[in-house]
């Protein structure tokens, strides 16, 4: 009755696990996992599915594609999607505050030994003397939306370099392609992005790399694993099985593309699996180098850096982007993975 009235309002409803309970007796639990087909950081779930790790856990995984992290978070809150990997955004915290979603593990992370996110400037800005991140004061910086990871990184650079956050002029451009177009045409001065995109950009004439994000943010937990509060609290078995499958996928990803301890043959197999969803619009020989380039480490066993999450939450509050009252308990459920 309650659910129907909410549906009538055209909004999202948490029917979540009701479906699973009904068919628990069946062979495998069907779950939906959200991915963004332009980001290689979503590879571990894809590998886990292709390698049969989810199947081993009795999970029947269906991938749902999103253009951005925000609608994925909303879909998880509504119960249409069960698990997702995305950066901690204002929207995610806000949904957690409303009791809809929980962070349950870590994913993409900055590792000092592995190539990480890069700070980029346009050629025009570089020629005008913006050659180090310290020169970003008074410059424009591209972000997708307020409260995105780009917004956070820009402010962390300002904090560490010792100038006012407001001295960086932020330009919300909604989508990554729009930021790339603006940076290339010199309409914004700077941006920070994961290495595979950063490298392909700085390989061209229009963009120059001037620094690394890891110099400004300690043990940055770039993306996290999250699920609905309903799953996290009432369906621990399902969450554990998902994380177990995912962890094996993470291990394969790190071994193949980050530590490069796999044989070339096996690596090629992994790349081919990833290519089923990531850069699937390009032929394999073109997508292959883009998938391999600048792979960042994914937290083994989906371990979560609480310190980094806390720092990010603190920043959101200091900017007034999320309500003051949100605590770590509201945002994170630490029952499932190792934290540090």
């Amino acid at each position: 009755m309650l659910a129907i009235s909410r549906r009538t309002f055209g909004a999202m409803v948490m029917v979540g696990s009701l479906g699973f309970m009904a068919c628990e007796a069946g062979a495998a639990d069907a779950i939906n996992v959200g991915i963004i087909p332009s980001l290689t950081s979503h590879s571990p779930s894809i590998i886990a599915e292709a390698q049969g790790y989810f199947e081993d856990e009795g999970l029947d995984v269906e991938f749902v594609s999103f253009q951005a992290a925000q609608p994925m978070a909303v879909a998880i809150a509504s119960g249409d999607v069960d698990f997702g990997l995305t950066a901690i955004s204002g929207g995610l915290i806000s949904l957690a505050d409303k009791g809809a979603v929980k962070v349950i593990g870590g994913a993409l992370m900055e590792d000092p030994e592995v190539e990480g996110q890069k700070i980029l400037v346009s050629k025009a800005a570089y020629d005008e003397g913006v050659t180090t991140p310290a020169d970003l004061a008074g410059r424009t910086f591209g972000i997708t939306t307020a409260g995105s990871s780009f917004h956070y990184m820009a402010h962390k650079i300002a904090d560490k370099e010792g100038f006012e956050r407001s001295e960086i002029s932020l330009k919300p451009l909604q989508k990554v392609p729009a930021i790339i177009a603006s940076l290339k045409s010199g309409q914004i001065d700077a941006w920070a992005i994961v290495p595979n995109l950063a490298n392909s950009l700085s390989a061209g004439e229009e963009v120059v790399e001037i620094g690394e994000v890891s110099d400004y943010i300690d043990s940055y937990q770039v993306t996290t694993v999250f699920t609905s509060t309903e799953n996290a609290e009432n369906n621990p078995d399902l969450v554990e099985r998902f994380l177990a499958g995912l962890s094996k996928g993470i291990d394969d990803y790190n071994a193949a593309l980050v530590d490069k301890t796999m044989s070339e043959e096996e690596t090629a197999g992994i790349v081919e699996m990833i290519h089923q969803y990531i850069y699937a619009d390009q032929p394999l020989d073109k997508a292959d180098p883009r998938i391999r380039a600048g792979a960042m480490r994914i937290s083994p066993n989906a371990a979560l850096s609480l310190a980094s999450v806390e720092d990010q939450l603190g920043w959101f509050k200091s900017e007034g982007l999320v309500p003051e009252g949100v605590t770590m308990d509201v945002l994170v459920n630490t029952d499932y993975v190792e934290t540090h």
Partner: protein, 280 residues
């Protein structure tokens, strides 16, 4: 005369005695709108009250919809921080410049299409081809053409308002009474006088109804226009609220847009009364 009525009256009386007399049943009425006073406001307030009650009792989940009081709170926050004027000011600036330029260009091109066969043959297919293109789809190109500053925002609104104005204007010109134009010619009025004194005023009702449509389109496009590099503006505020999933701010922003729409519609109503007072 009085004698006649008397006779009629007496025959009617006689008939009454002879057989049953019925009144002719009334079959008119209906299909006419009566002014109903403040019903609109009552319906509006009732929906708000119902919504508030639903939110308070938990029937409406806070994820589905924020309570109206929360949205009002977000609006109040905007007022006390002074951000309201910054957002509204930035949006109004874009709306006014974009809409004014789009309308002026639209009227000019519409008049050309209405007056010159060459322009009609050359431009009308172009207008018909470009009108249905969603301007949002062109946004990435607008960034390259007009930059991420005010240019691309004004351009988005300009393009959105240009086409409906063109169509309204040439439609209005086509509908000007040909007899009036012939009258102008028969009195030896110059071409320019006929355009200025007969065609433009004659097309004015159509142009003004075009304004109603183009102003609504401008408001719809405001959110799209402010997707790109806007720090302030009602659209930017709504987008930020969406990104932060701050639904109270989202509703507050949408309410602002709707107030803006009402105000513009009221202004156009005033303009119509002033310019078209000659209509009954």
């Amino acid at each position: 005369m009085s004698h006649d009525t008397q006779v009629l009256g007496s025959t009617a009386g006689k008939h009454k005695e002879e057989r049953a007399v019925r009144q002719v049943p009334f079959r008119g009425g209906g299909f006419v709108h009566r002014p109903m006073g403040p019903i609109g406001a009552v319906v509006f307030l009732a929906i708000i009250a119902l919504w508030e009650a639903g939110s308070r009792t938990g029937v409406i989940s806070p994820i589905a919809l924020p309570a109206p009081s929360e949205a009002l709170g977000a609006l109040w926050d905007l007022v006390v921080t002074g951000m309201l004027w910054k957002h509204v000011g930035a949006s109004l600036y874009r709306l006014v410049i974009g809409w004014t330029l789009g309308s002026l260009l639209g009227i000019a091109v519409g008049l050309m299409i209405g007056l010159f066969s060459l322009a009609r043959a050359g431009l009308l297919p172009l207008v018909s081809a470009l009108f249905p293109i969603p301007k949002i789809a062109l946004l990435p190109l607008f960034i390259i053409w007009f930059g991420i500053g005010e240019g691309s925002k004004v351009a988005t609104i300009l393009f959105g308002t240009f086409f409906p104005t063109v169509i309204a204007t040439y439609g209005g010109v086509d509908n000007v009474d040909r007899n009036l134009i012939r009258m102008g010619q028969s009195f030896g009025l110059s071409w320019l006088s006929i355009v200025r004194k007969i065609i433009v005023p004659g097309a004015m009702p159509a142009i003004l109804s075009g304004f109603r449509i183009s102003a609504s389109i401008a408001i719809v496009l405001l959110v799209a226009a402010e997707m790109i590099g806007a720090e302030f503006g009602i659209g930017a505020y709504i987008l930020m609220a969406g990104a932060l999933f701050a639904t109270d701010q989202l509703i507050a922003g949408v309410a602002l847009l709707s107030v803006l729409g009402l105000s513009i519609s009221w202004l156009i109503g005033r303009a119509e009364r002033a310019l078209l007072s000659w209509r009954a």
